[in-house]
């Protein structure tokens, strides 16, 4: 009898777990949490991790890809962000979160082509198995995670969008990310730590 009960408990746990899997919706990690470590292959075939930047004050981690029109619309702005903030200690690290089986245009070879033709001044990393994507809870491209390095480690300080103007036509736009980096550089916390912006859903293999 006890054995049967155990089995029942076990079965219902499995069922619960399965239903969780079915309903699982990815949630981005929130500001205040440690930035998950990664060690991923760059388009130049070298591995890249936070440790490769011993003097960086933090990182602008951008989940982006080749194929999403929204990500393409932000591509030049991401290059400009790196130009502006790498010298100040906040380099851009771009990660492609898509499974190339579901999105062939986001294969490692296609990433190499795009990085070369658009002259990416920052690493563009391939997330084999989508582990970093899952650790960060990246849901879309582009999806920004701004991290700051302190004595206690590397902490997420801001997540969300780049600015309030995806179409690139609004002169009154708010530069969420620039404002957040600016705040960190002047020893403050960002005024907004989470923003929302439209993007292409991450193509997750199952």
């Amino acid at each position: 009898m006890k054995h049967l009960n155990n089995m029942k408990t076990c079965l219902s746990t499995i069922l619960m777990f399965l239903s969780l899997l079915v309903n699982a919706q990815v949630k981005p990690i929130t500001p205040g949490q440690p930035a998950p470590e990664f060690n991923l292959k760059n388009v130049d075939n070298k591995m890249v991790s936070f440790n490769d930047y011993p003097t960086a004050k933090g990182f602008i981690i951008v989940f982006t890809c080749n194929t999403c029109p929204y990500a393409q619309g932000y591509e030049q702005r991401i290059i400009k962000l790196n130009e502006k903030f790498q010298p100040l200690g906040y380099p851009v690290i771009a990660i492609n979160p898509n499974d190339p089986k579901l999105s062939p245009g986001d294969s490692f070879e296609k990433m190499q082509e795009r990085a070369k033709s658009k002259k990416y001044p920052f690493p563009y990393l391939f997330d084999q198995g989508q582990t970093a994507t899952d650790l960060y809870g990246a849901t879309k491209t582009p999806h920004i995670f701004l991290a700051q390095r302190t004595g206690k480690g590397i902490t997420i300080e801001y997540t969300g969008g780049i600015d309030s103007d995806p179409e690139g036509t609004d002169l009154q736009k708010t530069n969420y990310l620039e404002e957040a980096v600016g705040a960190l550089l002047s020893g403050k916390k960002p005024a907004s730590t989470v923003t929302k912006a439209i993007g292409c859903t991450v193509r997750r293999g199952r």
């Binding site: 919706q25 990815v26 949630k27 981005p28 194929t67 029109p69 929204y70 849901t139 879309k140 999806h143 969300g160 969008g161 309030s164 995806p166 179409e167 609004d170 708010t174 969420y176 923003t195 929302k196 912006a197 439209i198 993007g199 292409c200 859903t201 991450v202 193509r203």
Partner: protein, 158 residues
């Protein structure tokens, strides 16, 4: 016989000319549309003309309408394309022969409207909101549905 033929010809001439209506809709207007609607279950799909998984998913909503449209179900397809793309939304709706109601969201501030639609939505497309008015139940899905998933989700909602 000629009469029938003329009638058919007339019918054919009228309908393609009418084409797919796409109206701009603000969130307030969308709320009113839902409050004033006579149906029980509402499925609101957020999509865009540039979003490949969305275009793959749209036929599932058409199929659900075809097979279950008589069950007090209303499906609203709300594009979040830029307002300047109204014509692209119209052309695509026509090409995909969408019979569900199609709208273009008349809101500019993503930071505001994404949260208002659902605070758990990060902004990834496609995304779908299911509402049951009689049970005052709502659920938001930031994902791409297969037809069987969509049907199953609808069955638990109606």
């Amino acid at each position: 016989m000629i009469k029938i033929f003329t009638a058919l010809l007339f019918f054919c001439l009228i309908f393609p000319a009418k084409g797919q209506q796409v109206k701009l809709i603000s969130l307030t207007e969308l709320d009113k549309r839902l409050e004033g609607g006579k149906d029980t279950t509402y499925i609101i799909n957020f999509w865009a003309t540039w979003c490949a998984p969305c275009l793959k998913e749209l036929p599932h909503f058409e199929k659900l309408r075809k097979e279950h449209g008589k069950e007090k179900l209303k499906i609203l397809l709300v594009s979040v394309d830029f307002q300047s793309k109204l014509n692209s939304v119209k052309t695509l709706s026509k090409r995909l022969n969408l019979k569900n109601e199609v709208f273009l969201l008349n809101e500019k501030n993503q930071q505001e409207y994404i949260d208002k639609i659902d605070k758990n939505w990060s902004g990834a497309l496609p995304a779908t909101l299911l509402l049951n008015k009689s049970k005052t139940r709502g659920e938001f899905y930031e994902k791409e549905f297969t037809y069987s998933e969509l049907l199953r989700t609808y069955e638990t909602f109606k």
